[in-house]
């Protein structure tokens, strides 16, 4: 079981956004997608979660075609955290997180308990009764993180669960970047498959089991952080001279520019 894409191609107005992309998000692993602006990271993500239909290729969620799923069942299995949210109605933070329980029918008592735990997980206890529209950008993003956590909180009888995150750390301070990566890793330990689009190479190296580098809609490098983060590849893709060191504690690659 996995969230897998085979031979994805996508063109918009004759401009190729994705070109024969193959990708497997394994449960229990963190897969990070990296690449320069316009490399097709977000397009890939949108095809993988069914927002865009590819011209060629297929996406399978737990061995079933993405579009063969019942909407509600798919939502219990696959959660998506977008980069920006359009929400501009004055829900409380607690109510926003509760929206994550929409596809479930576990009952109000259990849902409330899950919402409280999810908020605690993102260090958002103190936000529970505050009005969402009055929160800071980072706080809003944490509330949405709690929302997608609540959506896939419990193991599902429909197979492994997956969480797709589009640049989740972009509006976070240092402590909450760290917290997000910890959450992602602990989800992976609980057999959730994670796909994360991220710009910071070092943050990616710290949390990813598998890294995928995209350029012009095609995969140019993939493998473990050690295999992907080498000076030549970074020079070729980002046009930046970089030294690769090792993190003094974890031993993971450290890109110094």
């Amino acid at each position: 079981m996995a969230l897998s894409a085979t031979g994805l191609s996508l063109r918009v107005a004759e401009f190729p956004l994705l070109d024969n992309v193959n990708l497997v998000v394994e449960p229990g692993e963190v897969t990070a997608v990296l690449g320069p602006n316009g490399a097709g990271k977000t397009s890939l993500l949108r095809v993988l979660v069914g927002e865009l239909t590819p011209d060629k290729g297929e996406v399978h969620l737990n061995q079933r075609g993405l579009h063969d799923w019942l909407a509600v069942e798919r939502a219990r299995t696959l959660a998506v955290l977008p980069q920006h949210s359009l929400l501009n109605f004055p829900f409380t933070a607690k109510e926003v997180v509760m929206l994550g329980r929409t596809p479930h029918d576990t009952g109000a008592t259990q849902d409330r308990a899950i919402v409280a735990e999810a908020l605690r997980a993102v260090d958002g206890d103190y936000l529970a009764d505050r009005v969402y529209t009055q929160l800071s950008g980072g706080e809003k993003q944490r509330v949405h993180l709690a929302r997608v956590l609540a959506q896939i909180w419990e193991p599902s009888p429909l197979g492994h669960r997956y969480l797709v995150l589009d640049e989740p750390t972009s509006s976070f301070d240092l402590a909450h970047q760290q917290l997000t990566l910890d959450i992602v890793k602990s989800l992976a330990i609980r057999e959730v498959g994670i796909l994360i689009v991220i710009h910071d190479l070092n943050l990616a190296a710290r949390c990813a089991d598998q890294m995928v580098l995209l350029q012009c809609g095609a995969i140019v490098a993939s493998g473990t952080p050690e295999e992907v983060l080498v000076a030549d590849t970074i020079k070729k893709i980002f046009q930046v001279d970089a030294k690769i060191g090792a993190h003094p504690l974890s031993g993971k690659p450290l890109v110094i520019t």
Partner: protein, 345 residues
């Protein structure tokens, strides 16, 4: 933080609505005492009303008050649906072309029909003007929906633009009909557009009740979907909502219900826009409470406005549509101010 808990607001609204309905039946050019109302009620249940009070209540006041309440429910709840669908607190049913389409339809009938059709032509208790209004409104929404729907689904943004375009087209037609109309027709057209409940009768009450049944069967079931909608369409999809089915249901519902409301009461502005807004200021945007609360507040506001319209220049009366805005705006302002104070402290 909220001004009031949803349950308290629902109780408060219910506790206001019931006495208001009774009060509205007593008020009018001829005052009916509580005792008179009691006799009239007894007569209603025992058979044919015979006293003067009984006749007034049965033939005039009861259908009028009921019609006001039912139309208020339709306008307010459809406003809630549109604001949720468009994720915009400033949306209202007129956005998808229903009001301007209905105006054009009504004007066409007034101009075509002249005097004869207006007096004689009836269809299921509705004048031909009302039928024209319903047809015009429904047709406009259908056009807007078709324009915004492609193989990839219905685009809410395109619908907004199509709504503006169709409204402009209907507005032009309306002006054209007004241009060719004579003075008497012109007065009828402009009075119709102000919205009034003075044509209330029992057939209209039953038709409006049908609209309320449609709205109140569909909307409570869509509350969770509408909550998810506020996050954005993609997010709603990721939460397991069949976005296109929900959109189609809500648009069809609004076209039917507002088409009927406009047909029986003319274009009454303001209720659909402001009532959901007022309720959200007090209890927040959760549609599970928003729907019943807006239904009751819509009824309250329209019954109140209509009662004042009947009493204030008695024995003549004002068009109800003028009073909804006159009464609602100060209340809305006071809520805004109160909310601001509350947030600062």
């Amino acid at each position: 933080m909220r001004l009031m808990s949803p349950h308290r607001l629902l109780c408060a609204l219910a506790a206001t609505l019931v006495p208001l309905l009774l009060l509205a039946m007593m008020m009018g050019p001829i005052l009916i005492t509580p005792a008179g109302l009691l006799t009239a009620t007894a007569e209603l249940f025992s058979g044919v009303p015979s006293t003067q009070d009984g006749l007034i209540v049965f033939a005039i006041r009861l259908p009028r008050v009921l019609l006001a309440a039912l139309v208020g429910v339709c306008l307010a709840v459809c406003g809630t649906a549109m604001q949720g669908l468009f994720r915009n607190p400033l949306a209202d049913p007129s956005l998808i072309g229903v009001s301007s389409g209905a105006s054009a339809g009504a004007s066409l009938m007034i101009v075509l029909g002249g005097g004869a059709l207006l007096q004689g032509g009836q269809f299921a208790g509705l004048s031909l003007v009302a039928v024209g209004a319903f047809g015009g409104g429904f047709l406009a929404v259908l056009l807007v929906y078709r324009l915004a729907t492609s193989t990839t689904g219905t685009s809410v943004a395109t619908m907004l633009l199509a709504g503006i375009a169709i409204s402009a087209l209907a507005g032009a037609l309306n002006s054209l009909f007004s241009f060719v109309a004579d003075d008497e027709m012109l007065r009828r057209i402009s009075l119709w557009q102000m919205g009034s409940l003075d044509a209330a009768n029992w057939p209209r009450v039953w038709i409006a009740a049908l609209a309320v049944i449609i709205v109140m069967t569909i909307m409570p079931r869509q509350a969770a979907a509408l909550n998810a909608f506020l996050l954005g369409e993609s997010e709603a999809r990721h939460l397991g909502i069949n976005v296109d089915i929900v959109k189609r249901k809500l648009i069809l519902m609004t076209a039917l219900a507002i088409g009927i409301a406009v047909a029986v009461a003319g274009t009454i502005s303001f209720v659909g826009l402001i009532v959901p807004h007022m309720v959200r200021l007090v209890i927040g945007p959760d549609h599970r409470y928003l729907v019943p609360a807006t239904a009751m507040l819509g009824a309250i506001l329209l019954v109140l406005a209509d009662t004042v319209a009947r009493v204030v220049v008695a024995p003549s009366e004002l068009p109800t549509g003028i009073l909804t805005a006159l009464l609602g705006t100060p209340f809305f302002f006071s809520l805004l101010v109160q909310k601001r104070k509350y947030e600062v402290s």
